[in-house]
């Protein structure tokens, strides 16, 4: 089966800035693919390469098996939800949403209907006659979403499409997008800063840093088995244990990751590993307590369920965790 998007050793350099650097990527048709990474890591540039706004400095890009270099954006069945919305200020919301259908020559009545359906889908029914300037940031973002979706593209590129929404609406839209993606069978490439969003929605995730893919895998892979310190830190802030600490536990490794919620305080069974430490800080996060512990110079974070008793600062505690939760990493 041909990949929806294929990157072969693709780079995009702006002078000395390597915005995208030697990236290999294969996104399957119908996949929900998330790109996660800190600000400036090259996510938007990757999307722009797919959309056709940028041409690669090196490497080769294919979209559904066809060479994409030199193909202008308007000849790609790829639509983008822009990070800064890019709505047309002189057109009504309805005309904005219907724009893609209009330039394709679809009749007035048909495109009005399609645009209204799309607006209803993003929970903005009846907003069609307004101008973009009369909407809030989150409403504009949803219009941008409707404007792209109405075209039913083969690949939909979403650049932080839910960033401006409040938590409740964001969760609603996440579900909506996910079910839409399933029912339409569109390939989604979804950029986000929010690791929770990436983990809950994506089939696969690529974690970017400095224009390179640090790790590519299923959400579970990325979350439980981070391969580098960067991924461990960025995705859900795993603890990274040094080789010295590993040695203390009787494990030989350059480094190992350990999830904060995999650690218990106090009790340890025979088959569990354990480490002594001192509590240095604690904070209440709602469902959990976040407790910082100093284990002979190594700082370890524990996410302890709110129902569990919280040790005082300065208290000496035993940390206990299963060997299965300790994931060895290839690099320190």
């Amino acid at each position: 089966m041909t990949a929806a998007v294929l990157f072969e050793n693709v780079s995009r350099h702006f002078g000395a800035v390597k915005a995208v650097d030697a990236v290999d990527l294969e996104i399957a048709a119908g996949e929900f693919f998330a790109m996660l990474g800190p600000s400036g890591s090259g996510k938007t540039t990757c999307l722009r390469l797919m959309a056709g706004f940028e041409q690669p400095t090196h490497g080769h890009i294919e979209i559904f098996g066809e060479t994409a270099e030199g193909v202008p954006p308007y000849r790609r069945s790829v639509n983008t939800v822009f990070q800064d919305y890019a709505l047309f200020p002189h057109l009504s919301i309805l005309d904005n949403v219907a724009y893609g259908l209009m330039v394709k020559g679809i009749g007035k009545e048909d495109r009005r209907k399609a645009a209204e359906d799309a607006l209803a889908m993003v929970k903005l029914p009846g907003y069609g006659q307004r101008r973009p300037g009369q909407l809030s940031g989150g409403q504009r973002q949803r219009v941008a979403l409707a404007r792209a979706l109405v075209n039913k593209p083969k690949v939909l590129l979403l650049d932080e499409p839910l960033g401006a929404l409040d938590l409740k609406l964001r969760e609603q839209m996440q579900e909506e997008l996910k079910s839409l993606q399933k029912s339409l069978g569109i390939t989604f490439v979804f950029v986000t800063h929010d690791q929770g969003e990436a983990l809950s929605m994506a089939d696969r995730i690529a974690v970017f840093n400095d224009g390179k893919i640090q790790q590519l895998g299923t959400p579970e892979d990325i979350y439980k088995r981070p391969q580098t310190r960067f991924v461990a830190d960025f995705v859900g802030s795993s603890n990274v244990l040094s080789s010295a600490t590993c040695a203390k536990l009787g494990v030989a490794a350059k480094a190992a990751s350990l999830r904060p919620e995999a650690i218990a305080i106090g009790t340890s069974w025979a088959e569990q590993l354990s480490l002594p430490g001192t509590v240095t800080a604690r904070s209440f996060l709602g469902a959990t307590n976040r407790i910082s512990i100093d284990c002979s110079g190594e700082k370890i974070i524990v996410a302890s369920p709110a129902a569990m008793p919280v040790p005082d600062i300065g208290a000496a505690v035993q940390l206990a965790f299963s060997r299965n939760d300790l994931h060895l990493m290839e690099e320190a």
Binding site: P72, T80, N151
Partner: protein, 317 residues
Amino acid sequence: MSALTTPAAILPNRPGPMGRVSDFLWKHPHVLLAILLGPPVLWLGVIYLGSLFALLLQSFFSIDDFSGLINYEFTLATYRQLLSDANFDIIVRTVTMAATVTLFSALIAFPIAYYAARYAKGKWKAVFYLGIMLPLWSSYLVKIYAWKLILAKEGILTWAFTKLHLLWVLDGWLALPIIGGNSLSVSYTGTFLVFVYVWMPFMILPIQAALERVPGNLIEASSDLGGTPQQTFRHVLFPLALPGIVAGSIFTFSLTLGDYIIPQIVGSSRLFIGQAVYAQQGTAGNIPLAAAFTVVPIVIMGLYLFMAKRMGAFDAL
């Protein structure tokens, strides 16, 4: 904590009269507005609009043909005179010229403005501004006389056409009725060329300013949604640049309507509105008719703006 003293949450009044003045103005923003706007509004309202109104009033008086004195009685006789064949010709001629000049200015200015707004960076931007502004710094009369020399029968243009063996093109053009003539410098074509040249900066700059404000990602969004470059131009770029084009056309149109020097120096001897005003209030001493002639551009510009608004030229503002 540190040697620095922490500042109070609310700072004391600043000392001195300036401090008091700025505190006062902050509390009474209307006073500041009155100080800033008062003088220009007075100037505009009383002197500028007042004299314009006085002028309009003149057009409702008439001149006594026998004595040449102004008869200060309300009448529409002067307007009847304005619409007589000879005078109406002047109006039609001027409006046609102004419209043609505006249209061609816009056609020539748009690509230049587009280049300057989208592609010119750093040094090239400076070159652009210099190129646009430099002609404005030299005398208007010098430029027009220079054009008269360029367009004259013995001028450089005829010479260039001859050298390129294209003289037949020029001669063919000059043989055309109305727009032709003995030479370019005494034809409407010549007048047109000089108008377009002289007003060009006033068309380029507003269009460039309008295009400058069109975010690049709108062009990308249109392209992303399947719009070809032509469609993007038609549905996104042009509507967003339209207020700039209209602003520029207000300049070129009204400046052409009112100018009396260019048609005097370059062109046929037939009159334009500006020349008619000049002749009526000077040699002929018919102030009411001169006033009625000046009303024409005002009314035309009013109609033009009204239509532009109706057609949605300012929707993107």
